[in-house]
């Protein structure tokens, strides 16, 4: 499928009402950084909202603060095979329509609580049919890479659970103080 017909299909699926600042689907350009995914800036925006729901920044820094949307897309672009990439992109393209059909509201219009519930329900869903399967795979892949990026971020590995490049010690039977 070429980009134009993909866009048309997205427009049909979403009822033409996705949040797209460029307004004209047919002219919204593909983000060059992710050649294998062929996604648009507005799709990346939607992904960022999902990541902000997974890591809202209530206890720690938020996912978008750590630019996890970039990391998720880099991993999807470089480290998934062709089939996994197609599923991910299909899940992303269908996400607004899917959430609307499944939960009665487009994801982008949900408040924080609704968005969290929507992700939880999607992750717990038994995938019958392509759309459900795509949605579940899309959300679980997004969460998996976002979590990997978070746990391996400079912020987390210096401020929350510091990583030691040079431990210079090993104790095999260290007594736990609080036990």
């Amino acid at each position: 499928m070429d980009r134009r017909s993909a866009m048309k299909q997205l427009a049909i699926l979403t009822g033409g009402a996705v949040l797209m600042p460029a307004c004209d689907f047919s002219e919204e350009s593909i983000l060059q950084a992710y050649q294998n995914l062929k996604i648009t800036a507005s799709q990346k925006e939607l992904l960022t909202r999902i990541i902000a729901t997974v890591f809202p920044g209530k206890v720690l820094k938020s996912g978008p603060d750590l630019q996890l949307q970039d990391f998720v897309l880099v991993m999807c672009n470089d480290c998934l095979d062709r089939g996994q990439q197609e599923t991910f992109v299909a899940g992303l393209q269908q996400w607004e329509a899917f959430s609307n059909n499944q939960y009665g509201k487009k994801f982008s219009q949900m408040n924080a609580t609704e968005a969290e519930d929507c992700l939880r329900a999607t992750l717990a869903m038994d995938g019958e049919g392509d759309e459900k399967k795509n949605a579940t795979a899309f959300i679980s892949t997004t969460k998996r890479f976002a979590l990997q990026g978070y746990l391996n971020s400079e912020y987390f590995m210096t401020e929350i659970k510091p990583y030691e490049l040079v431990p210079a010690r090993f104790y095999g039977s260290k007594k736990i103080e609080t036990a």
């Binding site: 890591f55 720690l60 480290c79 010690r169």
Partner: protein, 566 residues
Amino acid sequence: MANLTIKSKKDNSYDAIVIGSGMSGGWAAKELCEKGLKTLVLERGREVKHVQDYPTTNKMPWEFEHRGTIPEEIKKENPVVSRCYAFREDAQHFFVKDTEHPYVQEKPFDWIRGYQTGGKSLLWARQVQRWSDFDFEGPARDGFAVDWPIRYQDLAPWYSHVEKFIGVSGNKDGRDNLPDGEFLPPFELTAGELYFKDFLRKNYPEREIIVARCAHITGNAEFYAKQGRTLCQNRTLCQRGCPFGGYFSSNSSTLPWAAKTGNLSMQHHAVVHSIIYDEAKGKATGVRVVDANTKETTEYYAKVIFLNASALNTNLILLNSTSSRFPQGLGNDSGVLGKYVAFHNYRAGISGEFDGLKEYTTEGRRPTSGYFPRFRNVYTQETDFLRGYAAGFSASRSMVNDYSGIGEELERAMTREEYGPWRVGSHMMGETIPKEASQVSLDPDKKDAWGIPQLRVSLDYDANDEAMIKDYLEQMTEMFEAAGFTNIRTRDDKRAPGLDIHEMGGARMGKDPETSVLNKWNQIHACPNVYVTDGACMTSTSTQNPSLTYMAFAARAVDHAVKNMG
């Protein structure tokens, strides 16, 4: 023209040539240079200088674009090397890519190679257990392969010689099937490992867990400072190259030491085509080399040649070194060259949990693990399969976090510090039996980019290996259950031979020139100024990681060569 030839012959002449700069080649070079021989080391790959050519060594986890994962495109193009546990984003530049150096797999064989200064010594798992006479006497006792022409006593002083120089951390355990060596202070066993060791002492008195001996500096810092190396800092990022020189590699140790003598010449991008045999003189006179970049051929000459190209490439070079005296390959009067190749069986493993020792954990990182010396068929034949297996064993504890949530719940879970149960695990290291059918040969048609025939590899597991896997899993399960471990899971990952990276043999040592390629000094029977002291020389495989034995052979062979040069 005649003058030119003479001149180039003089310029290209050395006392000794070493083919390969890896584990055993580095040792040959060090010993030859120390004994005053002008030595040329030929390395087919690029130069990797200690520290300055370790580009990832001080990188933090977040500095790797894919946090360690190898991108799909590279995996797809290089399925063989992608199956190697150490082929990750931080060390991928030290591995040969499948596409660059093709070979023919008659049966699936994952050939893991490192073409650069130091070869695979940069990447190895650094395990250095000595062999014992239970290993050297194996073929004679159990009636396979041929009898080793040496015994433990022949090699023991050379094990010591090597261990002192490379630095080996270990405990003197007093085991007759795993002799003690020249050890620096050992790493600690963990509380979980000590528990299992104690359990075995009470319930399986002939079985024992020890801390695996590894080539890391843990003491005598002043001595190693002379090599520019210092104490291991427990980074466990060894595969990137160590800026402290905490573990042994040719790059950090033997090659710079050899260079300091002023007797070393290193030639990189030097792909050895063959060894030159002079029929009139009845010996080898030099080496034919193809420049990896220009593809120009040059000949280098020496009185003695050490072949240390890595087990299978050494076979390839010998098979490709044909002359009217040796039409089937250099030193191949017996017809066994390329045959009786074997490896280590790493297919099976087991894991479990232990719910005790709640008051203990581990801290820091350890570049080795527990080690289960072979206990099967050691003193007498007691099973329906030949030989046995050693095993890695480790018990460790880490934080567990429940990452299943979304939003604030997930963020809170990520900050929690809660210890999980002890996790225990083991993997087998089985001895395989060298057989005539297990062989490598030259492809009659396919050539590599340098006009050298591609290697055909035909290795497989056999019924003995299958029986050993079954026994390992049964025995480990029984011991794990009896020790109170839970959630026990066993695996047989059916990996192809090769991923153990312990391929051995093809130019085996033996007493009889009719059935072996090398004599007890690692010399080719029929061409004694060529010594083979890498994995190709191995008559049988034992269960112990082989690199230490190759290094000891290299040092011993150089001593012999120099004493007999006259």
